[in-house]
Amino acid sequence: MHSQSTIKSLEEKALTIRRGIIEIMANGKRGHLGGSLSIADIIAALYFHQMRIDPKNPNWEDRDRFVLSKGHSVLAQYVALAELGFFPREELKKVKKIGSILQGHPDRLKTPGIEASTGSLGQGLSVACGMALGAKIRGKDYRTYVIVGDGESTEGMIWEAAIFASHYKLDNLTGITDQNRLMASGSTIVGSLSPKWRAFGWETKEIDGHNMNEILDALDWALTVKNRPVMLVCNTIKGRGISFVENNVDFHHCALTNEQYEKALRELNEKGGKK
């Protein structure tokens, strides 16, 4: 059970992340908006509640690991990392500028707090499997978290990793699918994901990926599963939180007009949270 104050504070963090994503896209800067907004609640839950991390010591050996396999949604992660102090907030203004520590996709060598360089879809789950296996080999009790896209799950490599994690009983790995049902150019073609993961030997739970209580419960439940990896299939809405962006593939990768930018911020501000 989670206290109302915990839920409320995490919901505010999610709003802060959404607001931060929009602010990064000020002045017509392009970004992967839809998929960043759909993971904002999950990112808030992981970074501000679930994961054992220390922003002052990003290379702490016993930290939990997080891999954003759907690397294009990194704007959400950047806001969370800045909020936690992995790097100064000022850096958010420089996203994608030449020489910036914040690249268009996650870069572990440039950005404190990024654990794996991703962006070529399908690879992050395998990398996360390696981190989870590494913990077992080295007798470490850290946990590895990985967010996979449902569009990304069309990649064959995802299912190679699914077989591997199941065979080697990686019960220290929590997979999270951002099931927003849209790819860049329309509906996903991957079909029902929960039955697929179960068929591959994973424990699964399907939840509302925008309901903080459900997210926290599911993340806790994952810790209790033994001998199997866990996939939390999170039903989400691409573009969640901004009316005209929701479920609209035009905003998969986009620039906002000044008008859209103002409207987006207004909508988020109306929802409350720290401004």
Binding site: V67, A116, S117, I137, K140, M157, I163
Partner: protein, 314 residues
């Protein structure tokens, strides 16, 4: 009869030795018997993982392991080790400088029976073009042993390419083989022509040098085991000294040893060059590896002929 050793046997032994370090983890894609990783597996079963026939995942898992401070060595045939998983190596290994050792066996034409689908003619070229990658092609069992120790000590992505058949020893002993990543070894001194070879063609280069010495041509022989970073200074020095260069490799001449040497000569010290290797072709089945090498004109005789040609162009 020359003393010979299958490079894979040397590899398996050497891997088990560096595997005494608990950070070394070995992954194989269902070829542990052929790749001789089963020697390591027997000694350290807790650090050996068969990923099944899933090379892409093997690369990703290795990258993840390396990011936790472990030193993964991953294995499959050369023909699958790079080309099949090029993007996984590009992003998950090279781009993020993951300390992964990629070992491709049954290289070049050495899996003669299995034909073109199992013969790697392009792996060195595509590995070499990747930023942060080191590419090593040893010439015999002794050099394999040295290379395994060196890549284990070197931090960063490495592609190591070894054959599957017995090859004659080029080096007499571990003590006399001076192996350093990125540094060519001079096997024969000579002043008329330089033969630069890698992998199983090195012993052919030595044989060719011996043959042409009989007709009064003094050939220098360089063993360039490290295709990247290539030893530019050794190549320029050779070009200045002999003014005529031959490269020999069990690989396409496009972009690998022959290509790399051509780049160095072109930019730094132009000299006539003849390249022995596979001429923009796939392989094919043969019952005998030697027959296949002959069919592709990768022989000591071909090197001798190339020497005669290149000398005329001086």
């Amino acid at each position: 009869m020359q003393k010979m050793e299958d490079m894979r046997d040397a590899y398996g032994e050497a891997l088990a030795q560096v595997g005494e370090d608990p950070r070394v983890v070995v992954l194989d894609a269902d070829l542990s018997h052929s790749n001789k990783t089963d020697i390591f597996k027997k000694k350290h079963p807790e650090r050996f993982f068969d990923v099944g026939i899933a090379e892409a995942n093997m690369v990703g898992v290795a990258a993840g392991l390396s990011l936790t401070g472990l030193i993964p060595f991953i294995h499959t045939f050369s023909v699958f080790a790079v080309g099949r998983v090029y993007d996984q190596i590009r992003i998950s290994v090279c781009y993020q400088k993951a300390n992964v050792k990629i070992v491709g066996t049954s290289a070049g034409l050495s899996d003669a029976h299995d034909g073109a689908t199992h013969q790697s003619v392009d792996d060195v070229t595509i590995a070499r073009v990747l930023p942060n990658m080191t590419v090593i092609v040893p010439c015999d069992g002794i050099e394999v042993r040295k290379a395994v120790r060196a890549i284990y000590e070197h931090f960063g992505p490495v592609y190591l390419r070894i054959d599957r058949m017995p090859v004659p020893f080029v080096w007499e002993s571990m003590e006399n083989c001076q192996f350093k990543i990125g540094k060519a070894s001079i096997l024969r001194e000579g002043s008329d022509v330089t033969i630069i070879a890698s992998g199983c063609t090195v012993h052919l280069a030595v044989k060719a040098a011996d043959q042409i010495s009989k007709i009064g041509i003094k050939a220098e022989v360089l063993d360039i085991h490290t295709i990247k970073p290539i030893d530019e200074e050794a190549i320029v020095k050779a070009a200045k000294k002999t003014g005529a260069i031959i490269t020999a490799e069990e690989h396409s001449v496009i972009g690998a040893l022959g290509g790399a040497v051509a780049e160095v000569l072109g930019e730094r010290y132009p000299a006539p060059l003849e390249r022995i290797g596979i001429k923009d072709k796939f392989g094919e089945s043969a019952l005998d590896w030697d027959d296949l090498l002959k069919a592709h004109n990768i022989t000591a005789e071909a090197i001798v002929d190339a020497a005669k040609r290149v000398l005329k162009r001086k």
